[in-house]
Symmetry: C2
Subunit: 214 residues, 2 copies
C-alpha cells in the first residue's frame, strides 16, 4: 500500500529512470519485467527497485514481476506526466534555441508552448529549425502563463540575468524553474528549482577521473 508520506527524494529521482527504462522495454515488446532486470539495466539493486515502487503502491505481481504497460501508466500518473504539460522557455540564445529544436520533450509529456527573451531585437522573430516558435517579450509572460496554464519554465539566460528573470517567472505564476544558468537562484519556498550546470558536471567527472586509481 502506498505510504503517502515519507517518500525519499532519491526514490522520486529514480522513478524517472524507471519510466525511461520501462519505455525502452516496452518498445522491445517486453510485457513483464522483474525488479532484478529493471535494476540491472539501471545499475541498482533489486531491493532498491521494489522499495522505491512500493512507496507509491502495489504494482507488482508475485511470481511474475511488473507488467510493463501497466507500470508505465502508474509511474506517469505519479510523476504527473500522464497528461501533456505546457512549458515555457526564457532565453533564446544558443542553448535556448537548441532546447527549442530538441524533440525529446514531447515524447515525455512536455510541450514547449512559449519562448521569451529580453532582447528587443529578437522579439517577434521565429526561431529556426524544427518546432519553430515566435519569441515574445517578457511583458507577455503573465498573460501567456495564465492562458496555457503553464506551471514549469526553463531558464536559459546568461548568469548575470538569471536572478531577475527567475523573479519575473515567479511573478508570472511559474511554480517550478529548470535553471541552466550557473548561479544559485534565490526564490521563495513556494517555487521549486532544479539546476543544470554543465561546467559542474564536468568538474565532478574531472574529480572522479583524477581521484580514482588507475
Amino acid at each position: 500500500m502506498a505510504k503517502s508520506e515519507n517518500i525519499p527524494v532519491p526514490a522520486v529521482r529514480r522513478l524517472s529512470l524507471y519510466l525511461r527504462q520501462l519505455e525502452a522495454f516496452n518498445e522491445d515488446n517486453r510485457t513483464t519485467v522483474s525488479s532484478r532486470e529493471l535494476g540491472e539495466a539501471l545499475a541498482l539493486s533489486d531491493a532498491q527497485v521494489r522499495k522505491d515502487l512500493a512507496c507509491f503502491g502495489q504494482f507488482g505481481h508475485p511470481g511474475i514481476g511488473y507488467r510493463v504497460p501497466e507500470l508505465i501508466q502508474q509511474v506517469r500518473r505519479i510523476l504527473g506526466t500522464d497528461r501533456i504539460s505546457h512549458v515555457l522557455l526564457v532565453g533564446a540564445g544558443n542553448l535556448g534555441r537548441a532546447l527549442i529544436a530538441f524533440r525529446g520533450f514531447a515524447k515525455r509529456g512536455f510541450e514547449l508552448v512559449a519562448v521569451f527573451d529580453k532582447d528587443a531585437a529578437k522579439i517577434g522573430e521565429m526561431t529556426g529549425g524544427p518546432n519553430a516558435i515566435r519569441i515574445q517579450p517578457l511583458s507577455e509572460m503573465p498573460a501567456t502563463v495564465r492562458k496555457h496554464a503553464i506551471r514549469v519554465g526553463i531558464l536559459a539566460v546568461p548568469a548575470a540575468a538569471a536572478q531577475q528573470a527567475a523573479e519575473e517567472m515567479v511573478v508570472a505564476g511559474i511554480r517550478g524553474i529548470l535553471n541552466f544558468a550557473p548561479v544559485t537562484l534565490q526564490v521563495g519556498a513556494e517555487v521549486e528549482g532544479a539546476s543544470v550546470d554543465l561546467a559542474i558536471h564536468l568538474e565532478q567527472l574531472s574529480f572522479q577521473v583524477s581521484g580514482s586509481p588507475a
Copy 2:
C-alpha cells in the same frame, strides 16, 4: 586535517557549488567569507559547509572565516581544475553545436579541443558560431585523445546511437563520459559516467509542483 578516505559523494557535489559561489564573491572583491554566509548563498547549513571543507583539509581561520582567493585555489586543486583540462565532444547536432558555442567551459578550466560525428556529410565542416571547430570522423578519436591527453568526453548523440558511441569513446581512452542521451550507458567500472536528461529534470519539477500543496 584531510580525511583522505570517507569522503561523502554529496560533499564532492557541493564542492563545485562552493567554488562557483566563491568565484562570485571573489568578483565582488570579498576577501573572506564565513561558513554561514557561504551556506546561506547556497541554501545549506553552516555546519554542512564546514564539514564538507574539512574533508579535504583545514582551510578556515577561526574568528575570520575562509579567505576567498585561498579557498578558490584549494578547491580547484581538489577538483583537478587548477590546470586546463581538454575535453572532446561526440555529436554535432543541435545540442552539440550549442555546447560548442557555449563560453562557460573555459572559465571553469575546460577546453573543448575536438568534435566528432558519425555523419560523413558533417566531417571536415567547421561549426558555426563562436569557438568554431572542425568536425572529425570517429576513426580519428583514439589518436586525438592521445595527442591532447583527453580524459573526459561529452556525448550528445541520439539515444539510439549513444551506447555504441560510448563504447568507441572508451576504446579511444576516454575515462569519464558526460552523457546527454536519454539512456543508461552500460560501461565498465573503470569509466565514470554522469547523465543529464532534460526530460527527467522536467519530470522531477512536474512531480514537485503537483505534489506540494497550494
